[in-house]
């Protein structure tokens, strides 16, 4: 199994899906996230961070504007807290209804060696579609998404249609990933999950572009403004690659003090990991962890 040559594969994501409807939906959601979403045009998607009052990430999701409704696809691990905050935070006179859609809509992520082929196989003109623009076909919505190292195509599918989409993808020679292979892809592509981000500052995670310093008050805004004025963070999010296993958790590094590994997977003798590292003032490409050498690349949200 080669890590550097993604095949035509797809994965049915395990996320919490929340439908927010009513004329105040976007206002209610905008007050809760660090990302400015109030200007989102219809039929677009935008990633957004939920932070606590200390400015630390409490959830990470993607917001889709669909006519007068808002779809929030966020982490399964934090869904209870996020939904509770949404419900509690809606004022008595706001037109905003929050519905669970976990079993109604699924997000399928497609990867391919060739993005053009991937889109054209599904009848979508690659050049005519902008990133984060929703394209409707039948009951499905297609979204072109960019990550640090690749492009993918997300399909939002009604539960009734998941099997027919899987059959279609099978006809197109797409293979469904199991969770282990998805984890490998995800880490390889630097795709952050809430397991990596929970409790960390957006700037540390390379997700500073998801903080809108011009949107006014939101939970964590004071801390984010302070970080922006200081202009630097102590830790940096990175991807590690090496030939030795690397366990999740804190490890000591002689040069820098410590590194906190949040995701790690070893397949065919190669380890890929995501971690927060205290870099100090001397960026490096190689780090020694527990006596083993790992190459390191700093990651940031595209």
């Amino acid at each position: 199994m080669s890590l550097s040559n993604p095949l035509s594969e797809y994965f049915v994501r395990d996320n919490a899906v929340t439908l927010i409807q009513g004329s105040d939906s976007l206002n209610v959601l905008d007050r809760m996230v660090s990302t400015n979403i109030i200007d989102m045009p219809n039929l677009t998607s935008r990633d957004a961070l939920f932070c606590d009052y200390n400015g630390r990430i409490s959830d990470y999701g993607t917001i889709y504007t669909i006519s007068d409704k808002v779809l929030l696809i966020s982490s399964a691990a934090q869904h209870e807290i996020t939904r509770r905050t949404l419900v509690d935070g809606t004022s008595w006179d706001e037109d905003c209804e929050i519905l669970i859609a976990d079993n109604a809509i699924f997000r399928i992520s497609l990867f391919s060696r060739d993005s053009h082929d991937m889109f054209s196989e599904l009848g979508i003109n690659y050049h005519a579609v902008e990133s984060n623009q929703l394209i409707e076909s039948g009951d499905h919505l297609f979204v072109k998404c960019e990550s640090s190292f690749s492009e993918r195509l997300d399909i939002l599918v009604k539960s009734d249609n998941v099997n027919s989409i899987k059959s279609l993808l099978s006809e197109l020679d797409y293979v469904e990933m199991d969770s282990k292979r998805w984890e490998m892809y995800r880490i390889m592509l630097g795709d952050v999950t809430i397991n990596d981000a929970l409790g960390n500052l957006p700037e540390e995670m390379g997700m500073g572009t998801l903080v809108s310093n011009d949107k006014g008050c939101y939970p964590g805004q004071e801390v984010h403004a302070r970080i922006e004025s200081r202009g630097k963070t102590v830790k940096n999010f990175c991807r590690l690659t090496g030939n030795s296993p690397l366990g999740i958790g804190k490890h000591s590094i002689t040069e820098f003090g410590s590194i906190s590994v949040s995701s790690s997977i070893s397949i065919d003798g190669i380890t890929h990991a995501l971690a927060l590292i205290r870099l100090g003032g001397s960026p490096t490409e190689i780090v020694q962890i527990d006596g083993n050498e790992f190459s390191m690349e700093l990651l940031s949200y595209p």
């Binding site: 008595w92 706001e94 669970i100």
Partner: protein, 143 residues
Amino acid sequence: MIIGTVEIEPFQQQFMGILGGEGFSLPVVTETEVVNVKLNFTEAAIGALRQNMSGDEESHVMVISAQSGGCSGYLYDMKIIEDPGDDGFQRIDIGDFDVLVHNKDSSMLNGINIDFKETLMGGGFQIENPNADRSCGCGQSFG
């Protein structure tokens, strides 16, 4: 294999098939603690409210509520509106007029002290909340 070309016409964007059908009839249910609300107003706050009511005391009420937002998680909101009735609200008589608090906000707002400061900078209604673990520097947000 090419399945077909997707062409998005404006009229198609009006209908989003993905959000139709069953499965969306599951509202998020959260437990809300309802307590009997007690509010404390200073004389300055009552005076300022009386002035803002400007003769509408019979038909209008003031509603104090909480909503998400602000640096600390929740924001206070105060509105003078036409009396919405008692459905879902607790009514507090503070003399010349009534103040309403919605049941969903009762545990967050119970016991708050409302003052009014007449200063050019940072003046207006000030709320001190004994239920809050923290509050924002501007005083409008709590958590």
